[in-house]
Amino acid sequence: MMDIAHIAILLMIVISAFFAIWFDNLLNAVISLCVMSLLISLEFYILQAPDVAIAEAGIGAGLTTAIYIMALKACRSSRWPGKGNDKNERS
Amino acid sequence: MVLGTVYTGFGFWNVYAWVMFFALGALIVLFLRSTGRGDYEKGTYQDEVFYGGNPVPQDGEDLAVPASSSYWGFTKALSRFYDVLVSMHTGILSDYMGILVVTVAVISILILL
């Protein structure tokens, strides 16, 4: 039973990593990355490393995602004045 | 004259011999200079630049050879080689990463096998 859960988590890690690369929408990709980090922290817990799991959940899943989302917001709104602020202008 | 002598295992080289050589050269240069004409005067027609008989441009920029023109013949002769080299430096990050990965592959083939 434990083994099946373990394998399922590993599989889900790979799938979420794949989606993090595959999604064209950047927000979805970042959320996928966050899910991957959470699953990896779960995997760390299974591999008997609870302290690393806490660090990964806090830093990898929490802080890193926050930074990514801040960067995404900044990339949508901050441009030199005069160049337009429309996010659909680029693709 | 052991001081300043470097033995390379195949020969030797002495720094002070060279310094003396240069000092000697400098003395000869000074001697030649002292035999020059003494009737040179600053601020007269002797100061004027001779520019092939043409009027001399006021700004030095028009006189100077720009850096991109130096070794023109060299780069022209090797232009095919240079084209390849310059096109290697594309400025695209993905290409650089690709070269890195290919290098890892090549070196691992060499060392692992």
Binding site: - | W13, G60, L100
Partner: protein, 519 residues
Amino acid sequence: MSWQVHLPALVVSVPLLGAFISIAMVKPRLRNLWFATILVATTILAFLMWRYVAINGTLVYVMGGERWNLTLPSGMTLPIRIIMEVDAFGAFMALAGSIATLASGLFSVRFLDRVNDGNKFVALFFLLFAGMLGLEVTGDFFNFFVFLEIASVASFGLIAFWRDRPEAIEASFKYAVLSTFVALIFLIGVGILYGVYGTLNMAAIAKNMQVGFLEKLALVLFIVSLAMKSGAVPLHMWEPDAYGQAPAGVSCFLVVVGQASLYGMFRIAFSVYGQAFEGNVLAWVIIVLGLLSMFIGVIMAVIQKEAKRLMAYHCISQTGYMLMGIGLGLLALSSSQAMSEYGFTAMKGGIFHIINNAMYKGLLFLTAGSLFYATGTTNLNKLGGLARKMPYTTFMFAVAAAAIAGLPPFNGFVSKLLIYESSFVVHPFLAVVAMVTSILTLASFVKVFQSGFLGPSRDDLNNVREVPLSMVVGMMVLCVMIISLSMMPNWVLANLIEPAARDLVNQASYIQAVMGSGL
């Protein structure tokens, strides 16, 4: 026990202290004073460390304990503590690096007046300094990785310091992605070695080294990652961008940081793997990397128009000389006859070239920086006739250019001579490439000299004047170093270079210093 045994820890912690305190400095004058004080102090510490190592042999420092290992009740000993190990080669690298850093720091003091956030510059500068010295004193693989990352992160910040210039950001971004990837590769290599040997201590791994598939894989990862960090062709693409866009003082500094990565590569190739790695493949890989770096670096330099970018390409080609010189030493490692015939000479050449390159390449970047300070551009098409207006800079440039091109009375010639003569024994082709590179180096610096300093003066550069005194002093430090290295080749070879080369070759003494006869 004298206080001097703590030197390896001090050379890392003093710049770190400087970094963290300099953020809090409010007044620019106070900050500049602090900057200069910590720089001089660290350089003195590095010098004392070099002297201590020269007198007492390899210095081992254990962080937070007397002994590096732990003996279990069952009688088994485990290498557990963080150790720092400085042999003559490491001490030599630290000394050369800190002299160049001192010069670039003194040069940067006036540069700081022009920017608003000078505190951040100082903090990053010291962080990079600590990272560089850490790379050179550590005896532990994971610490090596940590210092590599400290140095990388600080250098991303410094390269992008002119953040209103798009090119600087671009260069920093490219370097950041490549360098992060490469550091992770290095970490994987460290993990592999840990998985096999169960320890991170370089000497302990070296002692038990049995080269199999996994060790070779780790070696590939180490070599590639450190070759990229030191900018060897074909992994050099970031280097002209980064060195060309960084502030000039920082470019001068990045040269020695690149050499610290080179130090790591040689440390791993000689001290960790050493004779356990059979065959000549590794040596030839390093030599071919060196040949490619030399030739392609210089051939690209000839066609550059931007002074700093041109010098950055030269930096690649000079790295090639070091790789080739020390690679030849590695080639001769397994046979003592080949070692005495050409290997040791080549290594002396390579190691001498490391300090030479730190000095004259640093000086060249500083002269480019003072050109930029005085005229606002380093584009050679827009310069001309500066020799009369900037006599000191011109003199320094001429000295450095003659030294880097290997013109006889200067130090560049000595190291190149040693490399030529020893590489000729292995294969004449190597020596020919080295000489052609030297000629092209001269050619491209003649181009810089001709279009930057000679020629008629231009109207748009009429009110250019010589750079301020502290910048001249910074350049003077390196210029004096170049001239004294040139005038005393015997002393330098006997006291600086030979002990370093001997310690690098002698793997047994490296292991012995840490492990004693135990384990």
